[in-house]
């Protein structure tokens, strides 16, 4: 009885999740249209307006969030940075999900040497943290935005591959798959039309775990100066530029830092909530 009541209670969205959803909506709007809030251009420097503080700390409405060491408007730079961080996070997470799931399905479908090779690749990736792989590739190749997107996308592909392989292997034994096979469906149809929708939950759950990690990876690499390169900018890159002026111009690190933190926090809160509903086995745990 109490369990049923509990699951009924779950149907209403908790306040924290509402707040998190609200923050993500505001963030996306800011990323898309934030540049319209400011008359300045993100590269425009102004030597007479260097390191202006934000409003409330002696700043003026010309630069609501202050300026950086070259007199560039922080508001417009944050909007562009948010946009780039958003693009990298979404594209990056999608790349990993698609690549990993495909490899996992192929491994389970084909078996044999191809499966062994994919498992080997998964093992290698599992023994090398993605930040190290990214640093290595950036040392060897010239950094470009496309390469950076791909690298961030590699984040977590091995988890998708491993999960999908296991799920597909067990799905293959189910009666419905044998039935469709007996009806003469092609392999492609069996795997993508029938098995894939049945194991899609796993990809979605992993996606919610992966997305905040991708945000943190992008910002960390850009913070190290190895991610998004100027003149383009991202939240991590703005932070790294402001780092040397931490004590004199705190707004340059605090604002992008807080946006990153609340973004990662909101996505993981929403992810936790989505996971609870998608995965019934987790419900008994809490």
């Amino acid at each position: 009885m109490s369990d049923r009541y509990k699951s009924f209670e779950r149907l209403s969205t908790p306040l924290v999740v509402k707040l998190a959803l609200g923050f993500v909506v505001v963030f996306v709007l800011f990323a898309l249209f934030g540049q319209l809030l400011s008359p300045h251009e993100f590269r425009a420097t102004s030597l007479f307006d260097r390191l202006k503080p934000p409003i409330g700390f002696g700043g003026t409405w010309t630069y609501p969030l202050g300026t950086d060491g070259r007199g560039r408007d922080l508001l417009v730079r944050l909007a562009l940075g948010a946009q780039i961080t958003l693009i990298v996070a979404i594209v990056g997470t999608l790349v990993g999900a698609v690549l990993g799931s495909l490899l996992g399905i192929i491994a389970a479908a084909k078996r044999g040497p191809l499966e062994a090779l994919i498992i080997g690749a998964v093992d290698v990736q599992a023994s090398l943290p993605i930040i190290v792989v990214a640093l290595f590739v950036l040392a060897v190749f010239n950094s470009s935005f496309t390469l950076f997107l791909l690298l961030v996308g590699l984040n977590g592909w091995e988890v998708y591959a491993r999960l999908m392989r296991g799920a597909v292997l067990s799905a293959k034994e189910h009666g419905y798959v044998m039935a469709i096979r007996a009806l003469g469906a092609s392999s492609f149809r069996i795997y993508f039309r029938h098995i894939f929708p049945n194991v899609l939950n796993i990809v979605l759950v992993q996606f919610t775990i992966n997305l905040p990690l991708t945000v943190l990876l992008e910002t960390a690499l850009s913070f190290l100066g190895l991610g998004v390169q100027p003149p383009l900018t991202s939240l991590g890159q703005i932070m790294s530029e402001g780092r040397d002026r931490l004590l004199t111009a705190w707004w340059l690190t605090l604002f992008p830092g807080l946006i990153i933190f609340f973004l990662a926090l909101s996505i993981s809160i929403i992810g936790d909530w989505v996971r609870d509903r998608l995965d019934p086995t987790l419900r008994s745990e809490k």
Binding site: D123, V124, L128, A139, L226, L246, T253, I260, F261, A264
Partner: protein, 307 residues
Amino acid sequence: MTGFILSKLLRAFITLLLTVSLVFIFIRFSGDPAAAMAPPDAPQEVIDQYAEKLGLDKPLWVQYTNYLGQIFRGDFGHSVDSGRSSVSLFLDRLPATLYLGGFSLLIALTVGISLGTVAALNRGNFLDRGVMAFSVFAFAMPNFLFGLAVILIGALGFQTYLGGQGASISWVGVLPPALTLGLASTGSYARFSRSSLLETINKPFLLAAEARGISRTRRLIFHAMPNAAIPLVTLIGLSLGGLIAGSVVTEQVFAWPGVGQLLVRSVATRDIATVQFIVLAIAGTMVVANLLVDFLYLIIDPRIRVQ
């Protein structure tokens, strides 16, 4: 059981071989190393000479076996910047990283497991909620932001600069970066030990222990906790393996003179030999840590031996 050990060893060896091969392929196809080493306006003959010296004129598979041979002998090349061997550069930096990583692991383990236990024992009330909220906070907090906040608090509140320890590594100096580095794993240890303990508490053998009249404290310490700790071993193994890699950002924020800082600097200066060795060393520690975890399970969890 011998079969289990052998198969694990073989898999570890294959993983390392694949890693080395991938590193070779990436370096070899990234560009012409001879042209990169020769002066910018060097004529073709000079570049060819460099290529011959480096063995680049030989067929690819000969280069590959040579590379494997070098690595097997422990020759990982020399840094272009300082001319020193990449191994010695790495070993110079290793103690600082181990010191930092060890401290942060200690903090994460003690604080994380205590918080997780408190949460599990107070399931559903404000203590539990607080711990869970903390673990979500710790997960979402980027360590470069937390590190900068720690430095800022130190500077404004205590008038001391907590970053830039330079060569002097002290007991007090390690605390701020260790706290920063350990924050995320403290959260995950808390979360993990909480769910593991909750799962164990509901098992029938604990009900049986209660029926036998064993006290609550004794049940918790001698019956529930050892069983709940078994899955934690995997997490600890992962942290040990990720010790070097995890510290990259934190070392950069606090100017901590460890391997992570060396890695970032070598990437920026394209010191391939050093980067390559650090990558292989990280892969090696991860693989060895995973092996140790697998073997440790044989000892601490007799159920695996039976299978």
